[in-house]
C-alpha cells in the first residue's frame, strides 16, 4: 500500500535525474534522501562565495521565494521564411539564457518551455554550476502535451526541466533556442515571471528589411530602460527591467495583461526581393488575416439547407426565427475543440459542425452565421477578445482576439450572438465580452462595434420570504427570482445536471446554503424558457433555528450571501479582484411573530455607497411583523488594490449588519 507522503514538493522530487549523486554526496545526505522516501538529486553542492553572498542578500529581499533568476536575457533575431500556408513570412529565432540562484537549501524549480506547430523548440539545455563553472546536464527535458481540459485535441506541448538546488547559493543555467515559424505568433512578452528576476532583458536585432514595432504596455509606474542602437544594417532594441518580484497566482485576480508591464511585438511589414509584404501594421491587416482563415473553413451551404427548415419550423416572425436558430445552436452543439495548428484559427466547416453537433467557438459562430444568413438575416462571423484581454482592435496583433461569435444586424440593432453561451437569451450578452470591441466580418471590409456594458441592476438575485414564528418553529414561503446573467448561470448549472439531481439542486437553492433550512413544495417558472426570469419558490421550515433563552427568542432572518466573504483580502493579497461579473442581491424577508410578542433591539439601518459597490440594509417593524430589506450592488467587476480600504470597510459593514439576531420578547 502506498503511504501518504510529507508535502515536500518544494524540497524534494520523487523523480530521479542523476544516479551518480550517491558518490558525490555524504552518507548523511543520503539519509535525508531516505527520509523523503524517494530518490532525488541536486543541481550541485559546491557554492562559491559570491553566489552564497548573493543568496544571503536576496533571500532577505524575497522571503517567500525559494529560487530567483539573477539574469534573464532573450535575444531575438529575424529572418525570412515560409509558413505552413506557404506564405512568405518573417521567422523569428529566440535565444534565451537564464541564470537561477537558490535562495535556500534544497530548493527546486521546474522550468518549462512551451511549443506548438508555430513554435519550434530547437535547443533546450540545463547546466549546473559547480564552483565557478557550469556543467551541462546530459539529461533530456521531459516532454508532454499540455492540452487543457476544455480542449479535445491540440498541439500545445511543453518541455521542462526539474532543477534541484542542494545549497543556498547553488546556481543553474537554462539555455533555449526556439523559432517562431511565423513571426505573427510571437505576440507579447511579459517582464515578470513566477519567480523574482533581478534583470530581465529583451533584445531584438532588427534587420533593415523589417519594419517592426514594440508596443509598451503598462510601462507607467515601472522603471524599464529602452535602448535603441543602429549598427551594421541592424537596429538593436533593448528593453531592460530590474528587480522584478515574482508574479503570484491569486483567487479571482485581475488579468496580468491589465497590470503587468509587457511588450507587444507588431511585425508591420518586410521587404522581400524588392517587394513589400504586409504583416500586421493596421487593423485592416489583422482583419485580412482573420478573414482569410475564416474563408478557409470551406462552408458548404447546400449541406445545411435541409436542417434549417426543421429548426425554424412553425416560426412565423423574424424574431422567432432568429431565436429558434440561435437557441438551436446553443442547445444542440456541444463544445468540443480541435485546435491543432491552423485549425486553432480556421473555423470548422459549418456542415461539419452541423453533422457532428459539436465544435468550438469558431465552429459554432460559423454555423450560426451561416444559418442566419441562409434564413435571410444580416449575420456576420465576428472575432472578439474576452474581458481577460485588455487590448482594443486598433492593436493589430493575434493576442487581441481569443473568441468568435456572430453579429446580427437586425431592425436597426446590433446583436452579438455567442453559440458557446448556453441558455443565453437573444439580446443579452455574457459579461465576459461586454465592453469589448468586436471585429465583424463583412467580406472585404469589417465593422468594429463595442458590445454594450450592463450594470449590476441587470443581473439580480431577488429573495423574498415570509416567515411566521409559531412556538419554536419558523416556517414560511420563500421565492427567489434570478435575472440577467444570474438567470443564465442558474440554467447553465441546472440544465447540465443529471435529471436525477435537479430536484435536490432546486431544494438547495431555496435553502440558501443554510443547513437548518428544509424546502418542500418547490415550484418554478418554466425552466425550459431561457428568456423569462427564473423563479423558484417553495415552503421552508427552519425548525432548528430559533434560540430560546430565558423566554426570549433570538432569530436571524438575514441570509446574507456568504460568497462575498471570500473576497475579503488578507494581508498577503498582492493584487485586486476581478469577479468577471456585476450583480445585485436584493432581499426582502419578513417575520411575523405571535401577537403577544414584540421585537426589541431592532438593528439599525446600515448604508454604504462607493463608486463600484453599494449596500443598504434595514429592518422595519410594523406591529408584530418585521421586514428586512437588504440590497447589495456590485457595480464594478474589478476591485483594484488601491480601493481595498473602502472594499474592506464595505465587506465589514455587511458582515456587521448580518451579525444581528432579532430579539423577540413577550409584550
Amino acid at each position: 500500500m502506498e503511504k501518504p507522503s510529507q508535502p515536500l514538493g518544494c524540497l524534494f522530487s520523487t523523480q530521479s535525474y542523476h544516479f551518480s549523486f550517491a558518490s558525490m554526496f555524504t552518507r548523511s545526505l543520503l539519509l535525508i534522501i531516505i527520509i523523503n522516501t524517494s530518490l532525488y538529486s541536486h543541481a550541485q553542492y559546491r557554492v562559491n562565495d559570491e553566489d552564497a553572498a548573493n543568496a544571503d542578500v536576496f533571500s532577505k529581499k524575497y522571503k517567500d521565494d525559494d529560487v530567483m533568476c539573477t539574469a534573464s536575457h532573450h535575444y531575438f533575431t529575424f529572418d525570412k521564411g515560409k509558413n505552413a500556408l506557404n506564405d512568405k513570412v518573417v521567422v523569428i529565432e529566440e535565444e534565451t539564457e537564464l541564470d537561477f540562484l537558490s535562495l535556500k537549501k534544497f530548493a527546486s524549480l521546474t522550468y518549462p518551455e512551451f511549443y506548438n506547430k508555430f513554435i519550434e523548440l530547437k535547443a533546450f539545455k540545463k547546466s549546473l554550476k559547480v564552483g565557478s563553472k557550469y556543467a551541462t546536464s546530459r539529461m533530456q527535458p521531459m516532454d508532454r502535451s499540455v492540452t487543457s481540459d476544455g480542449v479535445f485535441f491540440d498541439d500545445s506541448r511543453v518541455q521542462y526541466y526539474p532543477i534541484r538546488f542542494a545549497e543556498k547559493g547553488s546556481m543553474a543555467r537554462v539555455t533555449v533556442k526556439k523559432e517562431y515559424t511565423d513571426g505573427r505568433y510571437l505576440t507579447r512578452l511579459f517582464f515578470g515571471e513566477n519567480y523574482p528576476v533581478k534583470e530581465q532583458v529583451f533584445e531584438f536585432k532588427v534587420p533593415e528589411w523589417l519594419t517592426v514595432d514594440f508596443k509598451a504596455i503598462n510601462f507607467d509606474g515601472y522603471k524599464i530602460d529602452r535602448q535603441e542602437n543602429k549598427k551594421g544594417g541592424y537596429i538593436n532594441y533593448v528593453f531592460t527591467m530590474k528587480d522584478i518580484p515574482a508574479s503570484k497566482q491569486e483567487y479571482k485576480s485581475i488579468g496580468h495583461a491589465y497590470t503587468d508591464p509587457h511588450i507587444i511585438i507588431q511585425i508591420k511589414s518586410f521587404n522581400n526581393k524588392g517587394e513589400t509584404l504586409k504583416g500586421f501594421d493596421k487593423t485592416d491587416d489583422m482583419y485580412a488575416w482573420n478573414n482569410r482563415l475564416y474563408g478557409m473553413a470551406g462552408n458548404k451551404k447546400e449541406s445545411l439547407q435541409s436542417a434549417l427548415p426543421k429548426i425554424i419550423q412553425g416560426k412565423t416572425t423574424d424574431i422567432d426565427k432568429i431565436k429558434a436558430i440561435y437557441y438551436w445552436v446553443q442547445d444542440n452543439i456541444r463544445y468540443i475543440a480541435y485546435e491543432d495548428g491552423y485549425s486553432g484559427y480556421i473555423p470548422a466547416g459549418a456542415q461539419d459542425v452541423l453533422a457532428k453537433k459539436f465544435g468550438d467557438c469558431k465552429g459554432m459562430a460559423n454555423l450560426l452565421t451561416e444559418f442566419l444568413q441562409m434564413a435571410g438575416y444580416d449575420a456576420h462571423f465576428t472575432w472578439i477578445g474576452t474581458r481577460s484581454i485588455p487590448y482594443q482592435q486598433s492593436m493589430p496583433a493575434l493576442c487581441v482576439n481569443n473568441h468568435a461569435i456572430t453579429t446580427l444586424y437586425f431592425q436597426g440593432g446590433v446583436y452579438f450572438l455567442d453559440g458557446t453561451e448556453k441558455y443565453a437569451p437573444f439580446g443579452e450578452n455574457a459579461y465576459r465580452i461586454q465592453g469589448k470591441e468586436a471585429m465583424i466580418a463583412k467580406g472585404n471590409t469589417y465593422d468594429l462595434k463595442t458590445v454594450p456594458l450592463t450594470t449590476g441592476n441587470d443581473h439580480k438575485i431577488l429573495s423574498k420570504a415570509d416567515f411566521v414564528l409559531t412556538n419554536e418553529v419558523l416556517s414560511g414561503k420563500i421565492k427567489i427570482v434570478l435575472t440577467g446573467n444570474e438567470r443564465k448561470d442558474f440554467h447553465q448549472s441546472y440544465q447540465d445536471l443529471p435529471i436525477s439531481s435537479q430536484k435536490d439542486f432546486l431544494n438547495e437553492f431555496l435553502e440558501f446554503g443554510n443547513d437548518n433550512m428544509q424546502a418542500t413544495n418547490i415550484k418554478t417558472s418554466d425552466l425550459k424558457n431561457r428568456e423569462i426570469p427564473v423563479s423558484i419558490e417553495g415552503d421552508v421550515d427552519l425548525s432548528n433555528y430559533v434560540n430560546t433563552i430565558s423566554g426570549d427568542k433570538y432569530i436571524s432572518i438575514d441570509f446574507f450571501p456568504k460568497t462575498l466573504e471570500r473576497y475579503m483580502p488578507d494581508e498577503k493579497r498582492v493584487g485586486g479582484y476581478d469577479f468577471d461579473d456585476v450583480m445585485t442581491f436584493e432581499d426582502e424577508i419578513s417575520l411575523t411573530v405571535p401577537p403577544d410578542t414584540k421585537f426589541v433591539d431592532v438593528p439599525e439601518k446600515s448604508e454604504m455607497t462607493y463608486d463600484g459597490y453599494e449596500f443598504k440594509g434595514e429592518y422595519i417593524v410594523t406591529g408584530n411583523k418585521i421586514v428586512l430589506r437588504k440590497r447589495i450592488v456590485i457595480k464594478n467587476s474589478v476591485i483594484k488594490k488601491s480601493d481595498f480600504e473602502n472594499w474592506k470597510k464595505f465587506l465589514a459593514s455587511i458582515k456587521e449588519f448580518s451579525k444581528y439576531l432579532l430579539s423577540i420578547t413577550k409584550k
Binding site: I35, F153, Y554, D601, L661
Partner: protein, 738 residues
C-alpha cells in the same frame, strides 16, 4: 491489487511482450490505414446473438435517471491452448480474448456530455472497435473513427474503457479517444470492442489475475449485465456472490476442453443510501478470480479442481494455504535488491550489534517492532501484513521467542467464510496474549487495526507429516468506544472587541481515533529524525566524519526550517476545513506524539481565533459556543429512510470540555437551555452546561457505541446524530450587567 500481478510477473520472471506496450508519443490523429482493420475486428460482435441488446427502450420507471445502461456484456477468454498465430509457440503465452459490448440510453445533457468522448484500444492488429448511435425511431448511425486521437499516456484513459488485461497488468497499450458526433439526449449509444492480449508465461508456475469485485449497482440503472469467463483447462475459476447478487453459473463451452462461467444480473437500480454505508458489506456483489497454472503442480494455490466453480474454502483449506503463502514470503523480494529473508538476516545482524541478545524478551519484542517501524518510515510503501508478520515472527524466532501465526480477514470484505482470494487473508503475530499487527509510520506495539476488530480468526501451525495442521479458532480483540477516544479541552474567550472567539484547544487522541488523526498531526514535523531512538538505534550522524556531520546538520536544519514555515499554514488550512470558515491561526504544539508505549496518547494544542461564532442583539452578544464542536452530520429528509445496515467504521467516543470566560461586565444566560442527553443502545449525545466562577462550562459527549448496526436501528442512530446537529447551532446570551 494491480501490484499483485505485477509482482508475480517480476517474480516469476515473465514479461509482457514488447509489442503490446506502446511507447509514449505525441498525441495525433489515428492512422487512417488502421480504420478498416479496427472495424473488421469488432463488427462481428454486432451479429452475435444477444437478446438483451435488442431491447429498444429503457423502462419508464427509470425515465428520471440521467441514463440507463441497457446492456453491458464483458467476455474474457483465457486461452493457453490455442495458438496466437503461426509463429506463436504453444505453451509460451496465455492469450486474452476480450469482448465488451455496451449499450446505454442517454436521457439528458449530463449523460450526453459524459459519453461525448469514449476510448478504445488499438494496440495490436487484432484489436477492434465499433460504435453506433441509435436515434429515436431506430435510425442507426455508425461512429466514424477517422478523427480519433491517440492518447499520450495511460493516465489519460479512464479505467472503465481499459481492457481487463490492461487494468490488471498495467500494460501501456495504445488507446485512442473519439468525440462522438451527433449525440443528443434520447439517443442510444452502443459500442463493442475486441482486444487480444498475450502474456508470456514461460517459467512461471502460475499467474493469479487480480481478484474482481463486481458491485451490481452502478451510477446508472443497469437493465442487463453479463460477465462471461471462459477458460481452458489450464485455468481455474472461483467466485462468490454476496448480499443477494446472482451467482456465476457454469455452462457448456463451445469447445469441450474449455469451461465457461456466466454471471447475469438484470434490472438493477441505483442505490440511494448515503451515510454509513460499506458497499462491500451490503450491496449485492459478486467476486471472482481466474488463476492460470502452467503446470500440473498447483500445490499452494487457493483454487478448486479443474473446471470446478469454487465458491469458498474450508477452514482447513484456508489455513493450509495461508501457511504455505507465509513460508514462501522469505523468498519473495523485499525490494529490488534483496529478498525478505535477506532483510531478516540483515535486521537480525543489526539488532545483535545493538545488543539484542542481552535484552529481555519484552524489550526485544518492543525494539523489533520499533526497528521495523523505522524501516517503514523511510519507505514509500507499507509492508503487506503477511510480509510484516513473516519478518516480525522470524526475528522473534532468532531469539527463541515463541510466537503464533494468526490469520483472519478484513471486516471491510466479510468474515473468514467469505474469503475467496489469497489477498483477503490477513496475518498477525501473537506472542502469549499480545497481538502484533502490521505497523505504520506512527503505530505502537499492540495497537489494533480497524479492519480487523473483533474478527473471526484462526491460529495456525505448521503442517507436519502425518499430522493434520492445527487450526484454532480465535476472535481478534474488539475496541469499544472507551478505547477509541478524542477529548478536546477548549478554553475560549472573546476577543477585546467581542467579535471573535479566541480558542486554545488541547486534543488528546487514543486508539483508532488516534490512528486516523496522527498522520495529519505529525505532518510537517521531524518525527522521522529521532525515530531510531525508539529501538535504541544510533543516530545517522554517529559514525560520520566531521565534514559529513556538518553537512548532515545543515541538511537537518534546512528541513526543520522548511517544516517550521509550512506547518502553520497546514494547520490553518485543516482548521478552516474543520470549522468551514476563515480562521486566524496562532500556534500549534505537540505535547505527546503518541508514537511510543511511554507516550501512547497523541496530544497537541492549537490556538486560533474564529470570527463566525458571535452574533449581536442590541447590546447583547450571542455566542455559538456549542459550534466549537465543529459541524455535525446533518441527515437530510430523503436520507431518513434506510435500506442497508449501518456501518460507522468503529465504536468511538468524542468529548469536549469547553470553558468560556464570561467577559467582564456581562452576565451569561441560556446555559440551561443547552442541556441535553440522548442515549440509546447504539449511541449517545449529551451536553451538560453550567456556569462556574464567571466561566461557562460545557461538557459534551458523542458516542458511537457500535460499529455495525442493523438498519432497523436507524432511528436510534438518527436520534443522537440529530441531537448533536441541533445542539451545534445553539447560542448562549451575554447581557451587559448594567
Amino acid at each position: 491489487m494491480k501490484k499483485k500481478l505485477k509482482q508475480l510477473l517480476v517474480c516469476a520472471g515473465i514479461f509482457i511482450v514488447c509489442f503490446l506496450t506502446a511507447p509514449v508519443k505525441a498525441q495525433d490523429f489515428i492512422d487512417e490505414e488502421f480504420l478498416d482493420n479496427i472495424e473488421t475486428n469488432a463488427k462481428f460482435i454486432w451479429s452475435e446473438p444477444a437478446a438483451a441488446f435488442s431491447v429498444a427502450e429503457a423502462p419508464a420507471k427509470w425515465n428520471d435517471e440521467s441514463a440507463v445502461v441497457m446492456g453491458y456484456k464483458r467476455s474474457i477468454l483465457f486461452d493457453k491452448k490455442t495458438s496466437g498465430g503461426f509463429f506463436s509457440a504453444r505453451q509460451k503465452n496465455v492469450f486474452f480474448f476480450e469482448k465488451v459490448r455496451f449499450k446505454i440510453q442517454l436521457h439528458d445533457k449530463n449523460s450526453v456530455q459524459a459519453f461525448s468522448e469514449i476510448y478504445f484500444r488499438y494496440s495490436t492488429k487484432d484489436d477492434g472497435f465499433v460504435a453506433r448511435i441509435i436515434k429515436p425511431g431506430n435510425e442507426t448511425l455508425p461512429v466514424d473513427l477517422k478523427e480519433a486521437v491517440e492518447l499520450e499516456s495511460a493516465g489519460d484513459i479512464p479505467e472503465f474503457f481499459k481492457s481487463f488485461f490492461d487494468q490488471t497488468s498495467g500494460a501501456q497499450s495504445r488507446y485512442y479517444k473519439v468525440a462522438i458526433p451527433n449525440l443528443e439526449p434520447g439517443d442510444i449509444l452502443e459500442y463493442a470492442s475486441y482486444t487480444k492480449s498475450k502474456l508470456d508465461v514461460r517459467g512461471s508456475g502460475f499467474v493469479e489475475f487480480d481478484p474482481q469485485y463486481e458491485i451490481c449497482s452502478k451510477g446508472y440503472p443497469v437493465m442487463y449485465n453479463e460477465i462471461d469467463i471462459e477458460t481452458d483447462d489450464k485455468s481455474f475459476f472461483k467466485s462468490l456472490s454476496l448480499n443477494g447478487a446472482p451467482e456465476f453459473k457454469k455452462e457448456n463451452a463451445a469447445d469441450k476442453d474449455f469451461f465457461q462461467y456466466v454471471f447475469i444480473d438484470r434490472n438493477r437500480g441505483v442505490e440511494k443510501d448515503v451515510n454509513f454505508v460499506n458497499r462491500y458489506l451490503v450491496y449485492p456483489m459478486v467476486k471472482f478470480q481466474v488463476i492460470y497454472a502452467n503446470s500440473e503442480n498447483v500445490k499452494g494455490l487457493l483454487i478448486g479442481g479443474k473446471g470446478e466453480l469454487k465458491t469458498g474454502f474450508s477452514k482447513e483449506e484456508l489455513a493450509l494455504k495461508a501457511w504455505e503463502n507465509y513460508v514462501e514470503v522469505g523468498n519473495s523480494y523485499y525490494n529490488n535488491l534483496y529478498t525478505v529473508q535477506n532483510f531478516v538476516n540483515t535486521s537480525w545482524a543489526d539488532l545483535k550489534r545493538m545488543g539484542a541478545k542481552e535484552w529481555s524478551d519484552q524489550k526485544f519484542i518492543s525494539n523489533v517492532y520499533y526497528y521495523l517501524r523505522n524501516k517503514v518510515v523511510f519507505q514509500n510503501n507499507y509492508l503487506s501484513d503477511k510480509v510484516y508478520a513473516f519478518i516480525f515472527g522470524s526475528l522473534l524466532f532468532q531469539r527463541n521467542i515463541p510466537s503464533e501465526l494468526v490469520i483472519s480477514s478484513s471486516n471491510n470484505i466479510g468474515n473468514l467464510k467469505n474469503v475467496l482470494f489469497d489477498q483477503e487473508i490477513r496475518y498477525a503475530i501473537k506472542v502469549n496474549n499480545q497481538l502484533y499487527f502490521n505497523c505504520t509510520d506512527h503505530s505502537v506495539p499492540g495497537e489494533l487495526i480497524q479492519s480487523l476488530l473483533a474478527n473471526e480468526a484462526y491460529i495456525i501451525t505448521e503442517p507436519k507429516k502425518g499430522h493434520p495442521q492445527e487450526v484454532k479458532p480465535f476472535i481478534l480483540p474488539d475496541a469499544k468506544a472507551p478505547d477509541n477516544t478524542v477529548s478536546y479541552a477548549i478554553n475560549a474567550s472573546l476577543s477585546p472587541d467581542l467579535n471573535n472567539t479566541v480558542v486554545s484547544r488541547t486534543s488528546v487522541y487514543t486508539g483508532l481515533v488516534k490512528t486516523g488523526n496522527i498522520g495529519n498531526a505529525m505532518r510537517l514535523t521531524t518525527y522521522m529524525l529521532d525515530d531510531y531512538k525508539y529501538y535504541g538505534g544510533e543516530s545517522p550522524a554517529d559514525r560520520m566524519k566531521p565534514r559529513e556531520e556538518e553537512e548532515y546538520d545543515r541538511s537537518i536544519k534546512a528541513i526543520k526550517e522548511e517544516f517550521k514555515k509550512a506547518k502553520p499554514d497546514f494547520v490553518k488550512e485543516e482548521l478552516e476545513k474543520e470549522f468551514q470558515q476563515k480562521i486566524k491561526f496562532t500556534d500549534f504544539k505537540i505535547i505527546s506524539d503518541g508514537r511510543s508505549d511511554k507516550k501512547k496518547d497523541l496530544e497537541f494544542t492549537e490556538e486560533f481565533e474564529l470570527p463566525g461564532q458571535v452574533r449581536k442583539a442590541g447590546k447583547k452578544y450571542l455566542v455559538n459556543l456549542t459550534g466549537l464542536i465543529g459541524p455535525q452530520l446533518r441527515v437530510k429528509k430523503e436520507e431518513r429512510e434506510r435500506k442497508f445496515d449501518i456501518n460507522v467504521g468503529y465504536a468511538r467516543s468524542i468529548s469536549w470540555v469547553i470553558n468560556l470566560k464570561i467577559p467582564d461586565g456581562y452576565a451569561a444566560s441560556g446555559i440551561n437551555e443547552l442541556n441535553t442527553n440522548v442515549e440509546n443502545e447504539v449511541g449517545k449525545f449529551s451536553c451538560e452546561a453550567k456556569e462556574e466562577a464567571g466561566t461557562v462550562v460545557l461538557k459534551m459527549t458523542k458516542v458511537y457505541k457500535q460499529s455495525n448496526i442493523a438498519k432497523d436501528k436507524w432511528q436510534s442512530v438518527l436520534s443522537f446524530i440529530d441531537a448533536a446537529y441541533k445542539t451545534s447551532f445553539k447560542y448562549i446570551l451575554l447581557k451587559p450587567k448594567s
